[in-house]
């Protein structure tokens, strides 16, 4: 039995419109859907059942534009309605297809169960598509299944933590050596970078710290005054505000804001320098990262933070004072006169000292995470997040240590 002969006969049969009425209906709807999308013709399947076998003859465009329409592929598969073996046993005539691309070819290939059907008529260009499919290597390799994943995850997170600690300690050591170097050769220090860092972390942070400080001062003062009034202890508002803001809230607020502003900026900056190989370029020129990148950032934060703390303290106290005036009727002059008497100078030094330490911790954390960023976008995002979260956590931990160590100072 010769394929061409037979197909010729079936074509004649097709002319006599023996097609399945249901599939025609489907075709009409598909055609309707497609009218709007450019000049492509919808893929069409015409199925002719001979006495013993079936012939599928295909028309239209079998390309991405026509096939990647919602539900189209499933609809076409349903229209054929045969399993792989039956499909492979049928006759297929693809010469009526106007345009075919790899998606169309893949559709047929999958329909036939990844082999050529027994009787297949193709033109030369289509032959190339199916040739390529036939000689395709293996599919997507499945990654080997791993057992005891949770133990591995636990182990790797432990190693990761140790790695971070070791890295941080190394960074700290390097910083101390760099500071020694700066002390020995002060003229060769990165002063421009330090000055720029103070400007970015300090001067430019004044607006946001003032706003937040002022509002916290107002809220704290208002809430405290409501309670104090119950006991007739109005004047102690000065003690509460003075001590809590200067000793605790001021440094902590400033640190959290600076960690969010400057910490994230430093991490992202170093991370992008990694991505663009600028870090490597510095090393190649013999410019060490520690002295030129980390030292100026940590020092400038360490210098700027105490100033930001004083500024935040002042703003928070101002807010508290305004609120005390409105809610308790405490005069400004009384507030300002009482403040130095109830808050010992030790508290100011403690607050400012905290600021310096917090600033340097934020700088170190930011640099630590920045230098560990891998050259890809996910790592950059994760690194920056981790940097800010860790910096804030470390600051709060350090604050707790301060509270214990300096419990006898200023109270």
């Amino acid at each position: 039995m010769v394929g061409g002969d037979r197909i010729g006969r079936v074509f004649l049969a097709m002319m006599a419109c023996q097609t399945d009425p249901e599939s025609r209906l489907q075709l009409a709807s598909i055609r309707g859907m497609l009218k709007s999308s450019m000049q492509h013709a919808a893929p069409q399947i015409e199925c002719v059942s001979g006495n013993r076998e079936m012939l599928f003859s295909l028309r239209g465009d079998w390309v991405v534009q026509t096939l990647a329409v919602s539900g189209r592929i499933l609809a076409l598969q349903a229209q054929v309605g045969l399993d792989h073996d039956a499909c492979a046993a049928a006759s297929w005539d693809l010469t009526g297809i106007d345009r075919l691309d790899h998606l169309g070819a893949q559709f047929f290939w999958n329909l036939w169960g990844r082999r050529r059907p027994a009787r297949l008529v193709l033109d030369a260009r289509q032959e190339a598509f199916f040739d390529r499919l036939q000689h395709l290597g293996g599919g997507l390799p499945i990654p080997a299944k791993q057992h005891f994943l949770w133990i591995a995850a636990l182990g790797s997170s432990l190693f990761n933590f140790v790695d971070h600690v070791v890295g941080f300690v190394r960074l700290l050591g390097q910083l101390l050596l760099d500071i020694l170097r700066l002390v020995r050769h002060p003229l060769r220090g990165p002063w421009t970078e330090i000055s720029a860092g103070i400007f970015h972390a300090g001067t430019q942070a004044m607006g946001i710290t003032a706003l937040v400080g002022l509002l916290i001062g107002v809220v704290l003062s208002y809430l405290s005054s409501q309670q104090l009034r119950l006991f007739g202890a109005d004047i102690y508002i000065v003690n509460i505000l003075g001590l809590s803001i200067i000793r605790e809230l001021g440094p902590l607020l400033a640190a959290i804001l600076v960690a969010g502003r400057s910490g994230s900026a430093i991490t992202a900056q170093l991370g992008v320098m990694r991505v663009t190989e600028e870090l490597d370029a510095l090393l190649v020129m013999g410019i060490p990262h520690g002295f030129r990148l980390i030292l100026p950032r940590v020092l400038s934060l360490g210098l700027a933070m105490p100033l930001v703390v004083v500024w935040t303290d002042a703003m928070a106290l101002l807010g508290g004072m305004l609120s005390a005036k409105t809610s308790l009727g405490l005069s400004y002059s009384f507030f300002l006169e009482t403040l130095p008497n109830v808050v010992k100078p030790g508290n100011i030094w403690l607050g400012v000292g905290k600021g310096a330490v917090f600033g340097m911790l934020i700088g170190l954390t930011a640099c630590h995470f920045g230098l560990r960023i891998q050259p890809n976008t996910t790592s950059l995002g994760e690194g920056t997040t981790a940097s800010v979260v860790t910096a804030i956590t470390i600051v709060i931990l350090a604050d707790a240590v301060f509270a214990i160590v300096f419990k006898g100072v200023g109270i």
């Binding site: 991405v64 592929i73 499933l74 790899h102 893949q106 997507l140 890809n376 976008t377 996910t378």
Partner: protein, 257 residues
């Protein structure tokens, strides 16, 4: 029969502040050809390519792709057009957070209409077409060599079976061997898929190997669009310096041999 124009640029001006990059520039790209754009550095080749892609707007003039102005087209039409072209960026522009497989699958998945197993088959086919092995599918872009990045980027550009392919410096940064195999890959694919290719290149070997026509960008407009042999005959300082310098003569020796 006049050839069908895939891209039509008419009266295009580009100015950056006071600097005029393109002055009243016209250019046609015919269906099925490989058009190379050459020009001195700073002559606005990449800018022109980006304007064809709609990434930048010309100061004045029109860019028609597939016979449609991209500027005035509505969002749906623009999206449909964007699926008909592919772009190979100079450095690959692979998504660094995704594996090779996911990179190539991304444009297919974005259609939201193709079943997952079909996408997998198509990606494996595309990998095979650019001569990569299935074992490369799970690698991350950071682990790939320069040549492999270009191949993956090409596979991604071809994912949606484009009619039009843009190549920006396709062989820059490749060693001679990868360069040669990449050029032959592009040619094979162009013939197999009937692609129209617009290419910006400095590499004369690539130019001679692939190009149907060369568009020479100099004096702020296209001074010549013709097959390489004809362009060489034109007397213009840039053409002389570009094609007939020592580098060009060496490349042409190879062409004649």
């Amino acid at each position: 029969m006049t050839p069908e124009n895939m891209i039509e640029i008419r009266g295009l001006w580009t100015t950056f502040g006071e600097v005029v990059v393109h002055r009243d520039l016209d250019l046609d790209v015919h269906r099925g050809e490989i058009l190379s754009i050459v020009g001195a550095s700073g002559s606005g080749k990449t800018t022109l390519l980006r304007q064809m892609l709609g990434l930048e707007q010309p100061t004045r003039g029109t860019v028609k792709i597939f016979g449609v102005m991209m500027d005035g087209a509505d969002a749906k039409q623009q999206a449909a057009h964007r699926n008909r072209w592919g772009m190979l960026f100079q450095h690959g522009a692979l998504f660094s957070a995704l594996t090779v497989f996911e990179n190539i699958a991304l444009p297919l998945r974005e259609m939201k209409t193709l079943p997952d197993d079909m996408i997998e088959d198509l990606v494996m086919l595309k990998l095979n077409m650019v001569n990569l092995t299935p074992a490369d599918a799970h690698k991350m872009p950071a682990d790939l060599s320069g040549g492999m990045i270009k191949r993956v980027a090409l596979a991604r550009a071809l994912a949606l079976e484009p009619e039009l392919l843009f190549l920006d410096e396709p062989t820059a940064g490749l060693d001679p061997e990868s360069c040669e195999s990449f050029v032959s890959l592009v040619r094979t694919l162009q013939q197999a898929l009937g692609l129209t290719i617009v290419m910006v290149t400095h590499d004369l070997d690539t130019l001679f190997e692939l190009t149907t026509r060369v568009a020479v960008l100099a004096d702020q407009h296209v001074i010549a669009v013709a097959p390489v042999n004809e362009v060489i005959g034109i007397s213009h300082p840039f053409i002389r310096q570009f094609f007939l310098g020592a580098r060009g003569r060496r490349a042409m020796e190879v062409l004649r041999a």
